[in-house]
């Protein structure tokens, strides 16, 4: 069983770098996890794919990541990775860090109790806004494929019980270098030694994030909620409603579009002001 977790919907600009989606997913506004599960099922109908259209938060992380043999990191930020690190250590599940930016890719498996963990490498996430992101320097698609090949090789070897040399790998397509270093565990690591899982215990408010380079705000509720979208749709003025299904409710407002998921998360498209986005959410959804 492969459980796919993603908070986003498929957008046109994803199609050039994310190979599992097509133009129909964009026009149908399909959540990425659901689109990915559908396309993978079409390739192999004997395998089970479980789609979770959800944002990984401290409140749901143990549930979403629990009960598996291995966690593969395909995230695009350190906040999520520090949370994955805490959950993986607390549940004793190995995970594989992969990251890519411009022409460089990095990969390292993390096996609880055996190898260094993310906080052995890096005690805290860097200052917000300090690191370059794929939004501002881009990412070279073949590098994504190359570093994913390193990660999946580790994954397949680990799942089939073949021993591997565990190291941090750095591949670079500008210098054609492949470097690696074996990172030892930190004797005073706050996570894997002292078992202080502060990212997992972290409190989350109603998070509002402006998405880079686009007029869009992502909203994520404080508590785990479940909204019956069809019931909500019946309460809303019919002329605002664009579409509703079990997975997604789409509202068309004069100043913005709202895409709402059953877990209470929403994208507000057409504005970049997080306060305004919260206000629209509160007016139409949470009141």
């Amino acid at each position: 069983m492969l459980r796919l977790i993603d908070r986003d919907i498929v957008e046109e600009h994803n199609l050039s770098t994310q190979m599992l989606y097509d133009e129909c997913d964009v026009s149908d506004v399909v959540p990425k996890s659901i689109a990915a599960a559908r396309h993978l099922s079409a390739i192999n109908s004997n395998s089970t794919f479980e789609a979770q259209a959800a944002e990984l938060t401290p409140a749901n992380a143990a549930k979403l990541l629990g009960g598996v043999d291995l966690i593969l990191d395909a995230t695009d930020n350190f906040e999520a990775r520090f949370l994955i690190n805490d959950v993986a250590l607390s549940l004793d599940i190995p995970w594989i860090y992969t990251g890519a930016l411009a022409y460089t890719g990095l990969c390292m498996p993390i096996i609880p109790g055996k190898t260094a963990c993310l906080r052995c490498l890096m005690e805290e996430p860097p200052e917000a806004g300090k690191l370059p992101t794929c939004e501002n320097v881009g990412v070279w698609l073949p590098m994504v494929q190359a570093i994913v090949a390193v990660g999946t090789t580790y994954a397949l070897r680990m799942l089939t019980g073949q021993p591997s040399e565990i190291a941090l790998h750095e591949l670079d397509f500008q210098t054609w270098q492949w470097r690696k270093v074996q990172v030892a565990r930190r004797v005073d690591c706050p996570a894997c030694e002292q078992r202080n899982f502060k990212f997992l215990q972290g409190q989350t408010g109603m998070q509002a994030t402006k998405l880079c380079g686009r007029d869009m705000v992502h909203l994520s509720p404080e508590m785990e909620v479940h909204i019956n979208l069809r019931v909500l749709a019946n309460k809303l003025a019919a002329d605002l409603l664009v579409k509703v299904s079990e997975d997604l409710l789409q509202l068309h407002l004069p100043e913005a579009e709202i895409y709402l998921f059953p877990d209470g998360r929403a994208f507000v498209k057409g504005i970049s002001d997080t306060t305004r986005a919260r206000a629209l959410y509160n007016r139409y959804i949470s009141s």
Binding site: D76, R81, T98, A102, T104, L106, M122, P132, T175, V183
Partner: protein, 90 residues
Amino acid sequence: MIKVKLPSAYQKLAASHHIELNGMTNVRHLLSVLCERFPQLTDELLDSAGQPELNLLISINGEPLSNLQGWDTNLMDGDEVDLYLLLAGG
């Protein structure tokens, strides 16, 4: 002489794949010399308080600093220093 290999993001800034430096006492000294020689690297290597950036991982002859004496690890002639930059992208 100390051989230093920079991550590719830095190599572009420093316009060189490998850097060779003389007279380095320890890793902290090496970082300050790199910042002097390539001022455009300062913002990448050090945080706003002047401390080594959190996502900067350094190994000496393949051994990570966490196994040595951290930023105060002494450098000796012939040492090879590798700098890795942990990436958030994906």
